[in-house]
Structures are given as C-alpha cells and as structure tokens.
C-alpha cells in the first residue's frame, strides 16, 4: 500500500438537510449538510505563529477607511530591506504576513496598497467566493463574467462578492468532488500539462485535484497587455528562471525601481510552482495532505478544513508518513527553513549592495547605457530572490530548488556589480595601475554534466 492509493476513510455519512445548487455560495448553508467540515473551516480565523510562518495578530485602531481591529504583522518592519527592494512599488508601502482564509477578502479590500495605486476588479479572482458572481455577471458563462469583472475598478467589483473562498469554489455541490472554478488556472493548467486540450475537471486524478484546487490561487501571476488580463506566466515552464525568461521575452515590467531606474518584476506566492520542484510533489504528496490532513472527529475521519501551517498540526500532517517524534519533525522542517533563511539573507545583502552601487553611479551621472547591464542584473536577481521570498514556506516546499535560485541570484549580482566597475579601457584605478580582468572568464570550458 502506498500514498497514491489513498484510502477513503470510513465512509462519511451525512444528512442532506438542505439542497445545494450551483448557486449556493454561502458556506453556512453548506454547513447544514456538513457541520464538521464547516466548523473547522470557520477556524481559519485563528492566528498563531510558528517560527517562520503562521501569523501574529497585531492590534490597530480602526479607521473609516480601514475598519480592521487586527491585522497580521508587517513584513516590511521585520525586514526593511524589502522596502529598498521594492522602492517605488505598492508593496513597499504595505506588505504583511498572510493569514487564514477567513481574512482574504478584508485584507485585500483594506490593504494600503489599494491607496497607493488603483487596483482592478481582476484582483478578486483569488480573494473571494467569485464563482457564482462570475457566472451571474456572464449570464451563466463563467469566462465571460470573469472578463467583465476584470475590467471593473476594484471598488465596484468588490460590491459583487460577499464571502472569502467558500465550499463552492472547491467542490461540486452535487457530488462534493473537487472542482476547479478559477479561469486563471483553467487556462494555465493546459500549459502546465503541455496539452492545449487538457480539461482539468475531467482529466485530473483525485490526488492531483488535492493540489490543483490550491494552485488556483497560490501561484505567480501577472496582468498581461493593455487589457491587464490575469495570466499565469507558465509559457516557458513553471520554474523561476523559466518564468523570468518569459517575462524578458515579453518585455514585461511591473514597475520602475525608484532608486535605480531598473525595469522591475514582482513575484507573488508561487507555492504551487515551488512545491512542484520538491521531493514531496515528486512523491505524490499533495497540498491537502499537509495543509488539510485527515483528522478524527469522534469516530469519523474528515479533511481538516482549518487550512493552516502544518507545523501547528504535526501529528496529523506529518506523522502519518514520517515515523519520528513530533519535536523531531518540527526541528527538521525548521532546520530546512533556517538554512534557507540564512541563504536568503546573504542574497538580500548582495542585492542591497548592487542597488547602492547603481544609485551611486546614477547620482554620479552615469549614462543609461552604462547602467544597462547592472540594471538587468538587478531586475533578474531581484525577481529570483523575490520568487523564493514570496513563496510562503520559507524554503520548505523545495529546498534544493530554492538554493539553486539563490545562488543564481547572488552570482547575477556579482556580475552586475563587476559590470558597473568595468570601465572603458585605460580607466583603471590610477593609484595601483591595475588592469581589471574581464569578469567571469574561465580558463577552460567547464566540464559537461554527465548524461543521465
């Protein structure tokens, strides 16, 4: 027996108290039929920290503009280098630790990023129960409703939705099986599968669906073209450097760096992409296996709909597969995270040094042509670091891949800093008359990697 043939636990008896239709978006109504799942679902309001994740409640004075009395801790305060990294972009104003699903709609509505720049209706795709509203708006046509809402200003679109992600966003109300409802993923999964005809809702396996429902939202995205179409940038692959190559081809930028003038990219929550590169995905372990593990309620085993950090729930989340004590499993995860955190720190410091360098050169009057290579280095390195930084597992989902990206980023910065110092002939520092060598030349071809 192995993890692939996951057993359907003791049949889930339930009483059809109410009739659920494809228009029922209120979780409370679904909760009448499935009170155990609903009770757990409501607990995503809990806020509890782990060493690197979870979230911490910070009290605030509610204002007219933002009535929240509690928010999650600021990530910008925890690491002010992020402000420099994102200088000139909305994220440098407000960026917080993410918290439970119950907060998703409020946190989007009230983030200060909304003040910094007008946001489009597109944003709501991942922050509300939007399946029924999309269909209504499109007269029964999901994709049409999606396109219409995208074009609305955020405030207007906001009025059309009521709930954070709800039962109907993940479940078919008739069969209760998992179902993909998000246009962004419905399209992008064809790229992921490298099959333009792939229909995820009929072709995916049950185990795949246990990750795909999360991949609807926990992914890198961008707003493409003048119509700002929500797009998952998986055209050249889903790895960070493949996505970067795609953005370069497209000539896309998110913003221009306020201090250096570099054309920048911002990465956002690529959990699905990074998870795909890790040993757990390779072993067929799904998001839901760790974030919604089976839990015993009375005599029943159900999926824990209190979606949260698995490190708050190690016995159910990890010990079914790993025969080690809880404290040891926690220590293993944290040791991976601490190692990642220290590597991220190194790369982050390097990035700050590059930004300082370009800033200084600019201030000293360097022309754009001279700044081209260093700015590209900044764009690339910043995106790679951001990718693993925005990925919310602090390296856990794919530690080897995260390391690879951080080294790549660090080396890009090295080359950018050298390029900035590479001067037209004879400009060598007078004092010692050093002839600077060309950076990164190698005396011999590197060895070919042995074939598999």
């Amino acid at each position: 027996m192995n993890i692939f043939e996951r057993k359907v636990e003791a049949r889930n008896p339930f009483f059809r108290v109410v009739e659920l239709t494809d228009e029922t978006d209120s979780p409370a109504i679904w909760g009448k039929n499935f009170p155990l799942q609903y009770d757990l679902y409501k607990r995503t309001t809990d806020m509890q920290r782990t060493r690197f994740g979870g979230s911490e409640a910070v009290l605030r004075m509610p204002t007219e503009a933002d009535p929240r009395t509690e928010v999650a801790q600021s990530r910008l305060e925890a690491d002010p280098r992020l402000k420099t990294m994102w200088a000139g972009y909305a994220f440098s104003v407000d960026f917080r630790e993410e918290r439970g699903h119950a907060f998703m709609l409020d946190d989007q509505t009230f983030t200060e990023r909304q003040q910094f720049a007008k946001q489009p209706g597109t944003c709501i795709h991942c922050h509300a129960s939007v399946y029924v509203p999309y269909k209504k708006l499109g007269n029964g046509d999901l994709m049409k409703g999606f396109e219409i809402m995208n074009q609305m200003p955020y405030a207007e679109a906001r009025k059309l939705v009521t709930h954070p992600v709800s039962c109907i966003d993940c479940h078919d109300p008739e069969t209760m099986s998992l179902r993909i409802t998000r246009p962004g993923f419905l399209e992008a999964v064809k790229l992921y599968k490298n099959d333009p005809n792939y229909d995820v809702n009929t072709q995916a396996t049950r185990q795949e669906m246990r990750s795909f429902v999360c991949g609807q939202c926990h992914v890198e995205y961008y707003f493409k073209g003048p119509e700002k179409r929500l797009t998952y940038p998986w055209f050249d692959g889903i790895k960070a450097d493949q996505i970067l190559a795609y953005y370069d081809e497209q000539g896309f930028k998110d913003w221009v760096h306020a201090e250096t003038g570099a054309p920048m990219l911002k990465a956002q929550h690529p959990e699905f992409e990074m998870w795909n590169q890790g040993i757990h995905a390779r072993s067929g372990v799904a998001c839901a296996d760790c974030h919604m593990p089976y839990t015993r309620v009375g005599g029943l085993k159900i999926s824990d709909h209190h979606v949260r950090s698995p490190l708050l729930n190690i016995n159910n989340a990890c010990q079914k597969c790993h025969d080690f004590p809880e404290a040891e499993m926690k220590a293993r995860a944290e040791s991976i995270q601490a190692n990642f955190f220290s590597m991220r720190d190194t790369a982050m410091n390097s990035l700050m040094a590059l930004i300082d360098d370009i800033k200084a050169a600019k201030a000293a009057g360097a022309v754009d042509a001279r700044l081209e290579a260093p700015r590209q280095a900044q764009r690339h390195a910043s995106f790679l670091i951001d990718f693993v930084e925005a990925e919310n597992s602090t390296g856990f989902h794919a530690p080897h891949e995260a390391s690879r990206l951080l080294l790549l980023a660090n080396d890009t910065i090295r080359q950018g800093q050298l390029a900035l110092r590479e001067t037209p002939a004879a400009a060598a520092p007078a004092a010692t008359a050093v002839e600077p060598a060309a950076p990164a030349t190698t005396p011999a071809a590197p060895p070919a990697m042995p074939a598999p």
Binding site: M1, N315, D323
Partner: protein, 156 residues
C-alpha cells in the same frame, strides 16, 4: 527516536531474544510454520479489528505477504506462553482504557516494550536467514529489523 530500539530496552530485549531462541530450538524453517498455519490462525485477527481504530492495521496486514503466515499475535505477543498472556492482558487493559477515554496520540505508535516483543517475533521466524547479522553475544546490541523493513509494520 521511534525508528529503532533505544539502548534502554536492550536488557529486556536480550531476555526476550533468549526466550525466542529457546522456543525455536529444532524448528526454524518456513515449512513448520506452513504446516501449523491453521492453528496459528485460530488467534483470530478479527478480535483486534473489532476496534475500528485497529482497522487500518488490519487492512494493511490483510494485504501484506505476512497475512498468510502470521496473525496479529504472532508479532505482537511473545512466543512463550506465560509472557504471551501477560502481554495480552497488559495490552488489553491499556487499549481498552485508551479506547474508552479517547486519550491517545494519533497516529498510534507502538510502545518500546511491544516493539521489542515484535522484533523478537521476527527472529522467531527468520532466525535462519538473519543469524549472521545478529550480535554474537546474548545481550549484544541487536539490529532493529523494522528500521529497514518498514512495510512489515503496516506502513502506509
């Protein structure tokens, strides 16, 4: 660590080993087990599976190569009459209490004492093949079998 037998259990384990060897004298081949298969099976595993909480273990056992040759008690009680019933009553008491109060860690982990019993049970049947890798001295440090043969312990 759960993965193997801690040094503290070694003393007891050594004794159990001794008992296991004693009872295996002159036996030690699969043929014997096959021949007596029917009588082993009178230790009805269904008695254990009566508790739904044991269901997973029962299912895993039913699918394993061992189900044809070993019932629960072959692995979970000592191969010695006195200890067998002592263990059965201790465990029976413990499991019933745990089941009634619902006060136990999930997933269930085998206790050190019961693990030592199980490890001795492996040797009871497989002594022939593993004799070279067991310590030369009684009381020497034995290797945990399930460290490598995880699947034998109902591993999902």
């Amino acid at each position: 660590m759960v993965g193997w037998i801690g040094t503290k259990t070694m003393g007891a384990f050594g004794v159990l080993l001794g008992l296991a060897f004693g009872s295996v004298a002159g036996v030690g081949s699969y043929t014997f087990i096959y021949a007596k298969g029917a009588s082993y099976l009178t230790n009805d595993p269904a008695a254990c599976a009566n508790c739904h909480i044991m269901r997973n273990h029962f299912d895993a056992w039913a699918k394993s190569p061992h189900h044809a040759v070993a019932v629960c008690n072959d692995c979970h009680t000592p191969h010695n009459l006195f200890n067998k019933y002592l263990t059965k009553s201790l465990n029976g008491y413990h499991h019933s209490l745990a089941f009634t109060t619902g006060n136990f860690h999930e997933p269930i982990f085998i206790t050190a004492r019961n693990k030592a019993i199980t490890e001795a049970a492996c040797r009871h049947c497989h002594e022939d093949i593993v004799m070279a890798i067991d310590p030369p001295h009684a009381g020497g440090e034995a290797m945990s079998c399930i460290r490598c043969h995880k699947e034998v312990g109902h591993m999902e």
